[in-house]
Amino acid sequence: MRYENGHPIPEQRLHPLSWVFYLSGGLGAALPAVAALALGAEWGGGLWVLLPLILIGPLAGLWHQWVYRYDAGPDGLVIREGLIFRNLRQIDYRRIENLDTRRNPLHRLLGVADVKVETSSGGGAEATLRVLSLAQAARLGEAVFARRRALDADAGEEAVNAPPVAEAEVLLRLPPGELIRMGLIDNRNLFWLGAVLGSVVQVLGVDLLERVVGPALRDAGLRYVSELGLMLKVLLVAGTVIGVLLVGKALSVLGALVRYHDYVLEQDGGDLRARHGLFTRHAVTLRLARVQVVHQLATPLHRLFGRVALQVDLAGGAGDADHGDGARPLAPICRADNAPALIDRALPGLARGAPEWRPLSARTGYRLTRLWLWCWALLSLPPALWWWGWPGLAALPAGLPVALLHGHLYARYTRWALTPDLLLFHRGWLWRRLAVVPRNRIQTVRLTRSPFDRRYRMTALEVDTAGGGLTKRRVRLGYLDRDVAARLARALV
């Protein structure tokens, strides 16, 4: 580190092989040309255009590596970019929340890592150092965290709510057995697989089906699928569904095993650190001071295995590219009986004690049943009347059991509690979500009464924190009695 007119000038350089990691950019640019070639465009003529396209990436990388400097300054991390248009950025140590490292197989082969510097400003990483050698990354991490601790100690911050722990304490380890369960629980692949399979069948369906199944059918003396017996048709459909399920689950299990291989969550002072990944190693730091809301999710499959998933919303994490909704997994999967202990770790000093659960308004079940019946009527009656004429009206009572069941169960399983430090909210009966919000993280409280709410003398209460923000993750207590909501709002702020 040298100084010019009293300003720190960074001197550390990136790893000499940084340009390798810019190759992919150039290759991406060349992709259309390659595709044209593969589709039979003639070699010669305009194809010399390819060369600069491929070179753009590494040249940009070389330039970047040549002009990029970083250093740990006295007050913050200093980064200089550019030579013609210069940019000197200083990131205050106390504002640095995370130094995340990411290593894909290529990084590991070359012994380097991407280092992302994150602050709580949102909008993604403040700076990405691409790439540093492992030793450089470790030195940078040490320098940053040592100075941050020193500054924090000066300010006397955090000493109260996070007693210093001498060594990192392991909170959660996920053995392969847990990861297999996690893959079995995960349903996201199924959706994509179903969509892909559907479109594939749509495109090359009937012909291919004829060719594959045709001979077998002819052996059986049939010419069309439609001549099959009902039983066989059902079997065929069931077989397909089960096949999709099996393949989808296998993919999910594989994905979980690769992504969360050797998952370790440990506590180091005021930070939680998670490390995982088989090929690409992820190292993620969650600063406890930044945790806004802890979410717990239990799908029906989670409950079958006695597991839950835990996520936290971090302040300013909303723009993060890797976790688009600002949520970070605290535990991608954990035993249901371990979850309370982990939640307490994520919200230190905020005891939940024995919360006194309160139900929603007594009219919730009735209102939801009516809502579902209306939706059912609007969706089912037009086609039913179209096909069957007036007898189609019989479709209406068919929706009643489900509507009754949903209304009753939702009202029964949805509840909230207020403790001296926390607001807790359980929602849903099939997909059960629990949100734990520390009361001192609540920014604003919003009460809303829709025309329907007014009819049932209800109010919805929504709390806003500095984390999250996605619709699915908002903390919104609907169907509260009007006076209960008003009292709760007064208690919260």
């Binding site: 709580s120 302040a315 909303a318 600002g326 920014q443 604003t444 409280v445 919003r446 009460l447 809303t448 009464r449 829709s450 025309p451 007014r454 929504e462 806003d464 924190t465 500095a466 984390g467 999250g468 923000g469 908002r474 709002a489 702020v493």
Partner: protein, 155 residues
């Protein structure tokens, strides 16, 4: 202290703004009818005219209703804003959560002597909470009361 209404002059500002929108739409409709002779038969101009009359009526009526529903209260915790005609909202902004505030005024608002007070919090969904229609000095006084009497940590 109970809830207070905002300045009555803001109704005129909102009305004028809404009527300007209706006027633009009316111009567009007239231009369309002139430019496309096949529309000139009676149903289309009649329908358009009817719609415009209804829109003008709403432009006169809704601002008064919105004004009646818009009220605020400043107490020791912070500012509470109520607004909304069909969906009625009550937003409670604790004063310690206010990061910074704006007092802004468009040309139309300036002509009527009203301003909008905006309070910014560090939240994620509702970062801006605005209270429109305050008289100039009212807005300044409100901001002073809100910010002077509260200090402390924000996030």
């Amino acid at each position: 202290m109970g809830f207070q209404s905002v300045d009555r002059r803001t109704v005129s500002a909102w009305r004028l703004q809404a009527l300007a929108g209706v006027a633009v739409a009316a111009l567009a409709a007239v231009a369309a009818v002139i430019a496309l002779p096949q529309l000139a038969g009676w149903p289309v101009p009649g329908l358009l005219g009817g719609l415009l009359v209804v829109a003008a009526g709403l432009a006169l009526w809704l601002p008064a209703l919105a004004h009646a529903r818009l009220r605020y209260r400043l107490d020791e915790h912070g500012l509470t804003i109520e607004h909304g005609i069909l969906w009625r909202h009550r937003i409670i902004v604790p004063r310690v959560r206010v990061q910074h505030s704006d007092i802004s005024q468009g040309p139309l608002q300036r002509a009527f002597g009203v301003t909008t007070l905006r309070l910014y919090t560090a939240g994620s969904r509702f970062t801006v909470n605005s209270l429109p229609g305050l008289a100039d000095d009212q807005a300044r006084a409100l901001r002073r009361q809100l910010l002077d009497e509260g200090d402390g940590d924000a996030v």
